[in-house]
Amino acid sequence: MADQAGSETNHLPLILVHRLPSFDLALTNILQTHFRILDPLHSSQPLDSFLTSHAQSVRALIVYALSPLTADTIRLLPSLEVVVGTSAGVDHIDISECRNRGITVTNAGDAFAEDVADCAVALLIDVLRRVSAGDRYVRSGLWRLRGEYTLGSKLGGKRVGIVGLGRIGSQVAQRLMAFGCIIAYNSRKKKSSVQYPYYAKVCDLATNSDILMVCCSLTSETHHLINKEVMKALGKEGVIVNVGRGGLVDEQELIQLLTREEIGGAGLDVFEEEPDVPGELFALDNVVLSPHKAVLTPESIEAVFQLSLANLKCFFSNEPLRSVVQQE
């Protein structure tokens, strides 16, 4: 723990840490050699009164992982200028409050893109080729007993629709091209720099795809972007992979369609009410469930630590920040 009042570190800039108690302190260990750390969880005082009495001059705040940062909390910090996020999506941060106050928000930038893209491809191959289900089949001794195993579905030649062609979506596309997939995408705006066919409506993309890879960020406009209509358009053999956020997909509708076999399968790293996962999914062999760990590799975590540190250093030395979230 940093010595908050120590004379040797007194000249260091002050930063406020916003985290859930469960999040480990490896990041604090890195930050405390460069900053004075103010961590409300080190105090027995309730958060609101702690911030009112100790954080009035704080200009920079760092959010660990997905700890929710509400407008109410932001309002208690009158000097706040920057919120450094450590995740790819920043839907847990009240962006509109930050925008109103002119507070800059940064995210994990490129640090997670490769791992999330890898995870998306992993989930897709798993669903199509029944990898996790096959592993269950072998481990339970059923192969020896029954012999034949249900055939999977070929990846090559499949039409893959990418929802959100940002850093992650682009990396997913690049990987799937090598598997002989045919790529198209949907995003808010057509991107002039890419050659893949663009669909302005997700529903049209779904109609023309065998697979939907959900890679966009969660905002009020993208909440339940993948609704019943989109899933119906994708069709009986269709597969949905979600590595974005749970809220992007209407989970209840997805479960209905999966159990009625009106959609082919799903690979899910994210859920609407994590860590609660609807029990109906547990009985299905055509789904692969992953505990929101698309970015949990040591390499990614180290990269995001270094990026967060760089963003904070840039802020205090008046240099341009590395990964600013564009607020529209």
């Binding site: 890898d118 996790s132 012999g147 598997f179 996962v277 992953s290 590799t297």
Partner: protein, 313 residues
Amino acid sequence: MDSIGVLMPIHMNSYLEQELQKRFNVFKLWTFPNKTLFLKEHSSSIRAIVGNAAAGADAETIEALPNLEIVSSFSVGIDKVDLNKCREKGIRVTNTPDVLTDDVADLAIGLILAVLRRLCEGDRYVRSGKWKKGDYKLNTKFTGKRVGIIGMGRIGKAVAKRAEAFSCPISYYTRSEKGDLEYKYYPSVVELASNCDILVVACPLIEETRHIINREVIDALGQKGVLINIGRGPHVDEPELVKALVEGRLGGAGLDVYENEPEVPEELFGLENVVLLPHVGSGTVETRTAMADLVINNLEAHFLKKPLLTPVV
């Protein structure tokens, strides 16, 4: 052609059986209780065998069928066919290359990702309700890892192409260096294993490649290394692999094939760093259909005295 006798030693694929029965007089060996009696009665009418990776045509079977002309295998590997015996007797042999290359390569990447990113373990974790208790484990990044490939035929090259899309440096071992490849070549499997993070077995099973993955190779791959076998079970010295995994001398393994299928060493069932598949390398509806069509087209070509599509012998 419906008088031509075709022997199927085991059940393989319903579409294949159906299509064969439309054209030939098919004998399904597994439906006859007594093999000796069956051979006595029908051996002279059998002119073709359709086998696969599990059951082909050994010397004994070939000797027992005096009018056998062709073995058309529903697989790319023909290690279950006695090729020398076939050559000696002028029996033709075909396999199903190309049509299954993509599927096997896709599965190799799927196994790598499943092992490194702990996919099956994660799925078990969520399904068992343990996630609610909240702890999490890190997994390993795939992008950028060094991938070593044993065998640079169609499948090896297809694995390399896919791994390159994940920015993986590729190296390989084959008997002799391939001049047309830019990948780094190692003249021995041990050197390859010492210089990669993930080792993929993608060569055919022949006498020289049996147990090509032995203890020395496994130890060269090491504690953080991952072995992927999409070739054949006997490529790997299985008891040594099991020992290395149990003792933590090898980082992990993704296996689609085993030495005595469908028997899988039970010591592996409790390990989280292995992914075990029931030999499904070519197991997609699309590819099995294409393989069946190729088997039938080879048989038809043979009996119409036309050139074979994919001859081995």
